[in-house]
Symmetry: C2
Subunit: 458 residues, 2 copies
């Protein structure tokens, strides 16, 4: 803390602090949000040159740090270049922060519990050969991987903006970098008032951004393992197999469901060609995995599309990545647990591996924590506003899952409703991670045990 002369000592201290990690995580996110709020309130940050009100600044800073993407004011026109820069930095800090912390936690959890098949296969492989991956290496790896992906995505976007859309070089560079960072970090902030609706039928922009979102959403443990074991899927860890398979399956299902439901809706994709509909459906499906861009107007979608999106937004994408939601592994584990329960199996077997009892409990707790937060918030927002259940539920799930999609009611909500969403973005960003980590890092042994007693269930 005091000096940088002993980096290894400093990192081990950081690692030590992380053994009570929840306070550190919460404190650093709060600090980033409050700093961002202050910066966004400077008159220079708004295009008008006037100071922004505290609620709007707090909401925007929280949305950026929690890589959500819900906004009260249009990012591209309300904020000045400086304001947009602040938002971009907050997104990058929030994205790197959550990824780093989650990855370090994963390493610590792996060590603490002493499992052989570590969560971080990279670390595992090196530990197997006598070299442990420490917290510092994890952080450096996360930063390097992020910048690499963002640079590649930005490059494609810049070229496209330059050539196809005749943007000036400086503008093309700015648009490319902003959307690349926003996409890889699953932030959903854009510089266009219509998000990406104008590019609904541009496969280069749609698919590049979708690719960045999917990669960021897989999470670093998976990205690193895929790089190392790309050609040897048999050696993938359970975590990687689950994440990849569930991501593919969920993307397939959600593309079909959304495209099918909106096929004849002229207000969204009804006027598109067949392939255009599929592209727009796929893009929406990818973005419900908590990225938050939209290429068709969300407010015009049918109720059943909104509800289906609610489910996909709630699930989110991979752990220790940039996505929100309860995470695909949590969702898949719940499926395995229910299946075992229905068959009357004592153990939960996933792909020839036994899932430990505490991991099962973690998964179910994370999921129920989410359902509870969403139910309570939806009720509060319904009670204090005049909007109907479908749009309110969508807004709440979007905030909790740090998705950022909206039917357009965000700015029309009463102030306390906007503050509720602010809290929910924060809870949604940190809740599943900390709930998931607290069990694994618990430090409260009981001195004595109470006798067991059963209750009837169901």
């Amino acid at each position: 803390m005091a000096s940088m002369e002993a980096p290894v000592g400093a990192w081990s201290r950081v690692a030590q602090a992380l053994s009570h990690p929840i306070r550190v995580v919460v404190a650093s996110f709060l600090a980033a949000i409050l700093g961002g709020t202050a910066l966004l309130m400077i008159p220079l940050a708004a295009a008008s040159g006037e100071s922004t009100d505290p609620v709007t600044a707090l909401f925007t800073a929280t949305s950026a740090v929690c890589v959500t993407g819900l906004v009260l004011v249009d990012t591209g026109t309300y904020w000045s270049g400086f304001g947009q820069g602040v938002i971009l930095v907050l997104i990058q800090m929030g994205g790197l922060g959550i990824m780093t912390l989650a990855s370090v936690l994963a390493v610590l959890i792996g060590r603490r519990i002493g499992v052989r098949a570590s969560l971080l296969s990279g670390a595992e492989a090196r530990r197997g050969s006598g070299v442990a991956m420490n917290a510092r290496e994890v952080v450096v790896g996360v930063v390097r991987t992020s910048l690499l992906f963002e640079a590649a995505v930005a490059l494609i976007l810049i070229v496209r903006f330059l050539i196809t859309y005749d943007e000036a070089p400086g503008r093309a560079l700015y648009l490319g970098v902003f959307h690349a960072v926003s996409a890889f970090n699953n932030a959903g902030f854009g510089l266009y008032a219509d998000s990406l609706e104008r590019f609904a039928l541009d496969p280069v922009i749609s698919l590049t951004i979708a690719g960045a979102i999917i990669c960021g959403g897989l999470g670093f443990p998976v990205l690193w393992e895929l790089r190392r074991l790309w050609r040897r899927p048999r050696e993938w860890s359970l975590h990687t197999r689950m994440t990849v398979a569930a991501t593919a399956a969920l993307l397939g299902v959600s593309t079909v469901v959304i495209t099918f439901a909106e096929w004849g809706n002229d207000a969204t994709m009804g006027t598109f060609s067949g392939p255009g509909k599929l592209l727009a459906g796929f893009f929406h499906a990818v973005n419900t995995r908590t990225a938050g861009f939209n290429s068709v107007p969300i407010g015009e979608m049918r109720s059943e599309s909104l509800l289906a999106s609610d489910v996909f937004m709630f699930i989110g994408a991979g752990s220790a990545g940039t996505a929100g939601g309860i995470k695909v592994t949590t969702f898949v584990l719940m499926g395995y647990i229910m299946w075992a329960e229905l068959r009357g199996e004592r153990q939960v077997i996933a792909s020839r591996r036994t899932v430990p009892a505490d991991v099962q409990r973690q998964a179910l707790t994370v999921a129920f924590f989410g359902v509870t937060a969403i139910a309570v918030s939806t009720w509060l927002l319904l009670s204090t506003s005049a909007f109907s259940l479908d749009v309110v539920l969508f807004e709440v799930v979007s905030a909790f899952g740090t998705v950022g999609l909206s039917t357009g009611i965000t700015a029309s909500l009463p102030t306390h409703g906007q503050l509720l969403l602010t809290v929910l973005m924060f809870v949604g960003r940190l809740g599943p991670l900390t709930v998931g980590a607290s069990l694994a890092l618990r430090t409260r042994p009981r001195r004595f045990e109470f006798p067991e007693e059963r209750t009837i269930v169901g």
Copy 2:
């Protein structure tokens, strides 16, 4: 099966069959439903003297056997006296059936796992003194207790109908018995087209019916233990303590929430006096615990009341009683599990007792099974009808929780929507019970074990 000369042998054979109980339960419920459907299709069953269409008959029979109370046609005017009698018998069969099976299962589970603190405290106490309560005694006890409660409630109602409402003796008897059976069994079927709206401000009828609903909803294990240990709450089992405390707390919270939300709504209780509002709020709160009568028009309630009701309907009341939903013990256990998880406790301690790991998993599985069934059904119904999310969700939760409250859309749904609700009533009635029982009664030991492997959660 073949002869009745050896009742003990017959009962032990029943108990043996129940060791694979799910098939027996499902088959007997299906048989009752199909028999009821056939009877209701007889021209004699309808007041018009014409044969009823199969969908309406199936829906009504399922609703009665599953003690739900959702209807496509008005019970009091559409059906003849014979039809109403069939419905009453189906309710009584369904109510007794589910209570008996659940109680027998509880005994079997207690034996199989060999817990000391049995689920059935009555059985436990007698086993402690060397006398085991067998399946037959459980069945006899359930029938006797049911008839006792129903007779007491019917008596009060009959007197009230006779004296205050000047009904003829025969009619008062019929109204009293029908509503007493319907209330104690949490069935929600009534003989008035407006359910019990005309009695909204009659405390005798409202509170008598509310009392019957609450007692039926506590479940037999709790009722029996309360009778035995009424004055010694310190000796109550964990199951009874949890059920009684959670029932009181949930009733209090739901009364406050509903009364508060509807206080100024002139279409429901806004025109009532203060005590009248409280009475109507309490009555609705009691009926969301899966009874299904209403004294204010549900279709006029505010969105936030509907959503709050959804939550209370989903939770339901006690296990091994007449209520539906995931049950209060399941809900309370989830709270304890989440609390332990957030504190990083390895064990879940509820009121100085350790909750076994498999009971935790059961609770979380039952809850998630419910959430999944509701989400999928809501999506299907939204996709195939023109109603909005709030009324569709309410209808689906009401069917799944076998509540029977409705905003009034049941009869207007397309036929496949009505069939979906039929399936959902069946699944909601038997699902939580069988999911909860399957783990406890599992019979699939693994020959070999797979190695453990962790995944990241959240």
